[in-house]
Every structure is written in structure tokens, then in C-alpha cells.
């Protein structure tokens, strides 16, 4: 959106020193550079390290330990979720995995979707699904009723 031109706006562009960092904001606008990408990068590594143990542990218990998936049913889930430890395990794993995966897919969309509209709608779809998964999953862990 163009603002009303004042004589000051028509002055020659400011010459910056060679190799000075690229300015991403419009000249005159408040400088709003965020470190979001840096924090996202750090988050991927920290959550990845935690998920290494949480997810591989989960897969080992659910698919390999005595009988694997063949023994999984409602009663089995009720037995596990009777313990706050496994509820917390599953909750932390759910939140970290969904955020880790959402940020991963955000990167993938940014890399391959070239049209601005496509990027926008794919990311909206991604964030909506992430919100749904986190909300539903958290709700299920907290409101689980073994006597259902």
C-alpha cells in the first residue's frame, strides 16, 4: 500500500556501505527482523534428540516387546495410561512429534511450492491439521476413561 508521497520520500535512495546486511523491511518501516528461523532450526535439533528416545522407545514397546502389536487393544491402552508416566511420555511425544513434523513440512512446502497462493494454502492446511492433531491427541490423553 502506497503512503502519501512527501518530498522526503522522493529523495535519492540511501547508499549503504558495501557488504552491509540486506535490509528486508521497507526503508522507513520499523525494523522487524525476527530470529524465528534460527529458533526453528534449534528446535528441530533439540526435539529430534528427545524424539529419538521417545519414538524408538514407543516403537520398541508397541511393536517388538512381548507380542508386539498383536497384544494391543483397549485393555492394553487402559493398563498403560493408568500410569501418569506413560501418559506424560505419550503427551510429550505427541507435542514434540507434531511440532517437529509440522516444521519439517513447512520447510518442504517452502522449498517446492513456488506460487505464493499455493504456499499460503498448503501452509494453512498444514497448520489446521497440526492444530487438530495436537488438540485431539491432548484431549484424548487427558480425558481417557478406562471404564468407558
Amino acid at each position: 500500500m502506497a503512503t502519501t508521497a512527501t518530498p522526503a520520500d522522493r529523495s535519492a535512495p540511501e547508499l549503504v556501505a558495501p557488504r552491509s546486511p540486506q535490509r528486508r523491511t521497507k526503508p522507513g518501516a520499523a525494523k522487524v527482523r525476527s530470529n524465528f528461523e534460527l529458533y526453528a532450526w534449534v528446535f528441530m535439533r533439540i526435539s529430534g534428540l528427545l524424539l529419538f528416545f521417545l519414538v524408538l522407545g514407543h516403537l520398541f514397546i508397541m511393536n517388538i516387546l512381548d507380542g508386539g502389536v498383536q497384544r494391543v487393544n483397549f485393555g492394553f491402552v487402559a493398563g498403560r495410561w493408568a500410569s501418569p508416566f506413560w501418559r506424560m511420555w505419550d503427551l510429550i511425544m505427541l507435542l514434540l512429534a507434531e511440532l517437529h513434523g509440522t516444521n519439517g513440512l513447512r520447510t518442504v512446502i517452502n522449498d517446492y511450492a513456488e506460487r505464493a497462493q499455493t504456499r499460503f494454502w498448503l501452509k494453512m492446511l498444514l497448520y489446521t491439521s497440526a492444530f487438530l492433531v495436537v488438540t485431539l491427541g491432548t484431549l484424548v490423553i487427558f480425558t481417557f476413561d478406562p471404564d468407558l
Binding site: G48, L49, L56, I64, G101, G104, L136, L139, T143
Partner: protein, 131 residues
């Protein structure tokens, strides 16, 4: 094929292909997670609807797909550790290829017994017990 210029860890050969595999396995696991949270949410609906859907996981073909899932997660997990080492260990970039070979060995060593344990029941159902 032209030789990749020095210092481009993510261009060509081990560095690039492990990156490609990391992406593909990551996207696959993400989509599975979506389905998995929905199927687990059935414990809030009724025990029978949960049990019914979990039966699908026990069927032979889906059981085989689960081995694929475990393989994808295992690769992504091991390669993730390699990425962390590349980024934070000072000799990481220098040894990235060697780390990938170690990773592949670990992947096979861990996946083979896991796949055996996971498929044993299905194999016995389909072909009868070995004992």
C-alpha cells in the same frame, strides 16, 4: 557425472542422498502420525471401535507396512543424530560420509531383528508355526 565442488556437503553423493532420504522418511512418518492420532482417538469413542481398527494393524499386509514405518523412523532417527553431529561436532562435516556408513550398518543391525520379531506372528499365521 561432474565432481561436486569441495565443501558442498549437501550436493551430490552421500550428503545429498541422505538428505533426500531424510525428507522422504520425514514426510511419510508425518502422514502416519496424522492417521495414528486419529485411530488412537477412538479409545474415547468406545473400546469396540478402537479394537476393531487396531485389528487392521494386526493383519499381514498392514503388519508388513509397519516394518516399513519402523524402517523409515529408524533411518530418520539415526540420520537425525548424524545431522546434529554435523552441525555441532567440530569434525562432523569432515566425517559425514563415514558417519553415514556407520548409520547404515546400525540401521541394518537394528532393523533385521526388529523386522523378525514384528513379522514372526504374521509368518506363523500364514505358513504355520516352525516348531
Amino acid at each position: 557425472m561432474p565432481k561436486a565442488p569441495a565443501g558442498t556437503l549437501y550436493r551430490g553423493r552421500e550428503g545429498m542422498w541422505s538428505w533426500v532420504a531424510h525428507r522422504i522418511t520425514g514426510v511419510l512418518v508425518f502422514f502416519f502420525l496424522f492417521a495414528h492420532v486419529l485411530d488412537t482417538a477412538l479409545v474415547r469413542v468406545s473400546p469396540s471401535s478402537y479394537n476393531e481398527v487396531i485389528e487392521v494393524y494386526k493383519s499381514p499386509i498392514v503388519n508388513l507396512l509397519e516394518v516399513g514405518l519402523v524402517a523409515a523412523v529408524l533411518f530418520h532417527a539415526l540420520n537425525g543424530i548424524r545431522i546434529i553431529l554435523i552441525d555441532f561436532w567440530e569434525s562432523g562435516p569432515k566425517y559425514q560420509k563415514q558417519m553415514l556408513y556407520i548409520e547404515i550398518v546400525l540401521f541394518v543391525v537394528l532393523l533385521v531383528p526388529a523386522a523378525y520379531r514384528m513379522l514372526l506372528h504374521t509368518a506363523e499365521t500364514l505358513f504355520g508355526s516352525a516348531t
